[in-house]
């Protein structure tokens, strides 16, 4: 009986030892923190029938021995026939994996909203893949690349700046801006018109103009 029990215990110990060792040696399934990049803003627009896409990243310090160098992810906007294609092309250019769990703002171009097919296709992709957090702010602008260019003059990266901008506007006006989750929900529920804040660039500064309405109610 004791020999039987000690055999079982030895076998259990060996088994778990092998499991843990193999897990350790295989490097686990985790992507290390420094191997990721954290986009703060996603910009999607429609230009000449092509969906263009870019991420906005925060400026981070990269330590190289004792020197501090400013490191920024510099990947140009990509384009593709659909949002998924454009996104895949963009992520293919990146050296690090994009971790979108901290995405603050999704900026959509007006042209994209008018292209219903491309717009719905984008929302389908986001819904199925759970790509971005549901509490990501959604706003609209005339041309995303113009908005993107203002980032150089901003105190923070575009995503963080727009998030604070919209939160301040919410607390001033006692309103709540719609986020991606509400947009996706309303696409299904079709009970009301979704008002998305519209951003404009005036003399290098970002201002809010009249909101843009997105109405899913009449869609088939």
């Amino acid at each position: 009986m004791r020999h039987h029990r000690s055999t079982i215990m030895t076998a259990t110990a060996v088994f778990w030892g092998l499991v843990f060792c193999s897990a350790a040696l295989s490097g686990c399934s985790a992507t290390q923190l420094e191997e990721r990049s954290f986009p703060m803003a996603a910009l999607v627009d429609d230009k000449d029938g092509q969906v263009v896409f870019a991420y906005g990243f925060p400026a981070l310090s990269q330590k190289d021995n004792t020197d501090l160098e400013v490191a920024k992810v510099n990947v140009p906007m990509t384009s593709g026939a659909s949002f998924a294609e454009s996104l895949a092309a963009y992520e293919g250019e990146m050296s690090k994996k994009a971790d979108c769990s901290h995405l603050k703002v999704l900026v959509l171009g007006e042209q994209l909203l008018q292209d219903k097919k491309a717009f719905n296709d984008m929302l389908d992709t986001m819904e199925e893949s759970d790509l971005y957090p549901r509490n990501t702010y959604v706003c609209v602008t005339k041309d995303v690349s113009v908005l993107f260019e203002t980032e150089e003059n901003l105190p923070q990266d575009l995503g963080t700046y727009l998030e604070l901008f919209l939160q301040n506007h919410e607390s001033d006006r006692q309103i709540r801006h719609e986020n991606l989750g509400k947009l996706l929900d309303e696409r299904r529920n079709r009970r009301k018109v979704v008002e998305l804040p519209c951003l404009q660039v005036e003399e290098g500064a970002i201002v809010l103009s009249d909101p843009v309405s997105v109405d899913f109610r009449w869609e088939g």
Partner: protein, 368 residues
Amino acid sequence: MFSENDQISIRQVFRLFAFDFIGGSTLVLPAVLSGLAGVDGLWSILLGGGIASLYLFYLGLVLRRIDTDFLTFLQQRLPVWPAKGILVFLTIHCVLVAGYAAYIFADVMKLGLVTGEKYSLILALILLAAAYAVCGGVESRARVYEVLFWLLFISLFLMLLLAARDMEAVNLTPFFAAPASSVGKGGCLVFFCMTPLFLTLFFPAYVGKGKRGKMVLAVFAALWFAVGVLAVFYVILIGNFGASSLAFMGYPAVTLMSSIELRGSFLKRFDAFMIGIWFFTLFALVNVFLFYGKLFLQKAFSCQTRGKKAAAFVTILILVYVTAMLFQMVGSAAVFTDYMRYFAIPFLVILPAAVFVRGKRTDSGSYL
């Protein structure tokens, strides 16, 4: 001296059953009910609770009339082969339910916590941990859930309170718009999720003598606690997402947790931590059916020796693993719902009375 006797307290019975009811129901039901009945899914929940109460009342009546627990009664009063047949069916039922619960469990963990990991590995880890829990007997599991109960549910209630801020009144209307048949179907689905009630018949073996009445009351309290939690959950989900959107979601509870944000707090989001609630509740469901599956199989094949009992246990584990893998491959919800609707529920409703009547007929001082 105190607890070498595999006995659990009434408080532990309440908590065990509460965990069993809440785990699967809060995860799976909201989307289904929303698709069936929209806002009126709330009535489905109450209807399901009512049906489950009637079923529990019926089980309580059966229990009152037998002087032992159901398993002992089955073995002592029925002929050998019918008893074994029933035990085999009960084993299959436990394997299927445990397999389905394990499938949901592994699926939620994969979607919510370890996205890049293989489903089979997650499932294997879950079943190994469940096996370890089952080895400790019902006492050990009861203690674990007794300790965790308020920790988990206070966290859940706090999160629901935070989620309630984002409800929209427009999503909570209209009431009484769904057809009665849809509400009825929803009620039945709620009842399906409450079928761990059947295990009430086997619990007298684990509570002290003279505590059966209290035990049944504890199960009743657990049932309505679970119905209450489910109802509140449903209202909050509908209020946040809207009926149509809710119907499209896989696991709306997980989505709700990821939507809650506390500005200015130390942590940004709590979804990963809150998934822990379903970790423990689903574990309870897997554990309880694994435990009884093992027990029924051991009784069916008269496993007396330690080796045979271990072999039966390993067999059950493998069967549950395979079942969960199969559920992942096929359209699991429809298959499982059909099984419950056409086989399990009729059997579980008829069986207690049939066994009782048959057993009583032989009650002339002699056993067959």
